[in-house]
């Protein structure tokens, strides 16, 4: 199974649900890696759903793409990365009308960034469904140099931009779709605890 139960945390930390079919004129599903499993589960609940669905999928090295294609969605796009897919996401949202349902599934980084696109297109955040699947890696912002480090799995970690040792916080920015990383050895440089895997 690709599901993970996140421990309870501060109010800033996003919480994710389970995708369910909702009435709508059109459906946009954006997923990466194991997020495909959430879409497969969703499609199994409503046979009519896929005829009105556009799937944007980023495999990240997994092999779910064929299974998604077999659902016969109205449109299917497979992108090499989120950055490569974001143009299409913006175009689809820009052309969309009220009655569109948005479903996001997969990693926190993908869901957070796609959520931002959907909200700035005019959909309220509370009307967008999310389901976490797969990697628990986080998209982190270094609060010192503002650089983003993707797919962080240990705490502390080294900023991929400025090289500081950063402590992984649950403090989350919806605007940046990233958690905040704060220098862990500012007062005693070099005194860095050994990195441990997140949630261990």
């Amino acid at each position: 199974m690709s599901k993970f139960q996140f421990p309870e945390s501060i109010a800033s930390r996003p919480v994710y649900g389970t995708l369910e079919p909702r009435p709508g004129k059109a459906h946009l599903m954006i997923a990466d890696a194991e997020g495909a499993e959430a879409i497969l589960d969703l499609a199994a609940q409503d046979a009519g759903l896929m005829a009105k669905t556009h799937i944007i999928y980023i495999p990240k090295g997994t092999d779910f793409a064929e299974a998604l294609r077999a659902l016969e969605p109205a449109q299917f796009y497979e992108g090499p990365s989120y950055a490569a897919s974001v143009q299409r996401i913006r175009k689809v949202l820009g052309d969309a009308h009220m009655g569109l349902q948005v479903y996001l599934a997969g990693t926190e980084g993908l869901m957070g960034q796609a959520m931002n696109e959907a909200v700035s297109a005019g959909i309220p955040a509370s009307a967008i469904q999310t389901e976490h699947r797969g990697s628990i890696a986080r998209r982190m912002q270094c609060v010192h140099c503002k650089g983003i480090t993707e797919d962080v799995t240990t705490d502390p970690f080294v900023c991929s931009h400025c090289g500081l040792n950063l402590f992984v916080r649950d403090h989350y920015s919806r605007r940046l779709a990233a958690f905040q990383g704060v220098c862990i050895d500012a007062e005693d440089p070099g005194n860095v605890p050994a990195p441990v895997e997140l949630y261990k």
Partner: protein
């Protein structure tokens, strides 16, 4: 605690006004315009706000909420349009028959329970009958900022189409009127189809119309956050009942034709309120003890609260039974 000063009395702050114009618009609707008695400007209001009008009807004080329908940019007047309800509790009838130019009256500061969502990419208004009033102010406000809006307005007949001609003439491309007597109806499903992402809809009119718009929008996949409505309920008469108010340490009788809130006020209890129509939540009161049945009529509490028997909205809800003790 907020820094706001504690108010001495319940309800919004009050403004002494003079009736400056009484303009009959058709058989049922009359516009009343007010200026401030002290000659100053009115406080600014945002479109969709209402004011509670205090009417001195003999030894009875009537307090009715009405949407402000004047241009929010014009601070020299406040205006309301009142539909006469011959079967109602008498507030609108009092306005129509007793209020004359030059009369001194009292209004409350505006309270907005039906604001525009200014993040919207487009605003679509659905009005039924006298439900046109808040949209008059909203249209004036949006025109100032070149806002994207359209109005769909259902009236019974051309003769009773309050402001219909005026609006249709001024905004010919944005205003659509539907007359019941010509079997015209708002094509709601078509109108919900194809609206740009980020459109918000607003409905004001009879309860059936409000429910219809909410239900149809939900079925078409509209988020509830994008669907706004306002309906003020008038308190309905019911069997008299007795209530014990334990904070005030008195037992009061609620008459057939008065609300629980009005009965409290008559007995000198300073109970909080803003809208007096079951919408704002200000008068929510905890139930200490109850042996009987609640008649909940508000739009504020959810079904769970209604079923719990722990809360009541005294502005519109009643009680049938032996004992009711409230924490007031």
């Amino acid at each position: 605690m907020s820094a706001a000063p504690q108010k001495a009395k319940a309800g919004a702050e009050k403004i002494a006004v003079t009736v400056s114009a009484v303009v009959p618009l058709n058989d049922l609707v009359t516009r009343f315009e007010f200026t401030r008695t002290d000659g100053a400007d009115f406080p600014p209001f945002s479109a969709g706000a209402h004011t509670v009008v205090e009417m001195r009807d003999g030894d009875r004080t009537r307090l009715n909420p009405y949407s402000l329908m004047s241009d929010p940019a014009d601070r020299s007047i406040y205006a309301i349009s009142v539909r006469r309800d011959d079967q109602g509790r008498g507030g609108s009838l009092f306005m129509h028959t007793n209020v004359k130019v030059g009369d001194q009256m009292t209004l409350t500061y505006p309270v907005n329970l039906f604001p525009l969502d200014l993040r919207a990419k487009k605003h679509v208004f659905f009005a039924g009958g006298i439900g046109i009033t808040p949209f008059k102010a909203m249209i004036a406000q949006l025109e100032q900022s070149n806002g994207n809006w359209e109005l769909h307005y259902a009236c019974r007949t051309p003769a009773l189409g309050t402001y219909a001609d005026e609006l249709a003439e001024k905004y010919a491309n944005k205003v659509h009127i539907y007359y019941d007597d010509q079997s015209q109806a708002i094509p709601l499903e078509d109108l919900l189809d194809g609206q740009p992402l980020g459109t918000h809809i607003y409905v004001c009119g009879p309860a059936g119309m409000i429910d219809w718009v909410h239900a149809t929008a939900t079925a078409h996949g509209w988020p509830s956050e994008n669907v706004h409505s306002e309906e003020f309920l008038a308190p309905q008469p019911g069997k008299p009942f007795e209530v014990r108010l334990c904070q005030s340490d008195i037992t009061i009788q609620v008459g057939e034709h008065e609300s629980l809130l009005e009965a409290m006020e008559r007995c000198g209890v300073d109970a909080p309120f803003l809208c007096r129509g079951g919408a704002c939540g200000q008068c929510e009161t905890d139930v200490v003890e109850a042996d009987g049945e609640f008649v909940h009529r508000d739009h504020w509490l959810d079904d769970e609260d209604h079923a719990s028997g722990k809360k009541i909205m005294p502005c519109v809800s009643r009680f049938i039974g032996k004992t009711l003790v409230l924490d007031r």
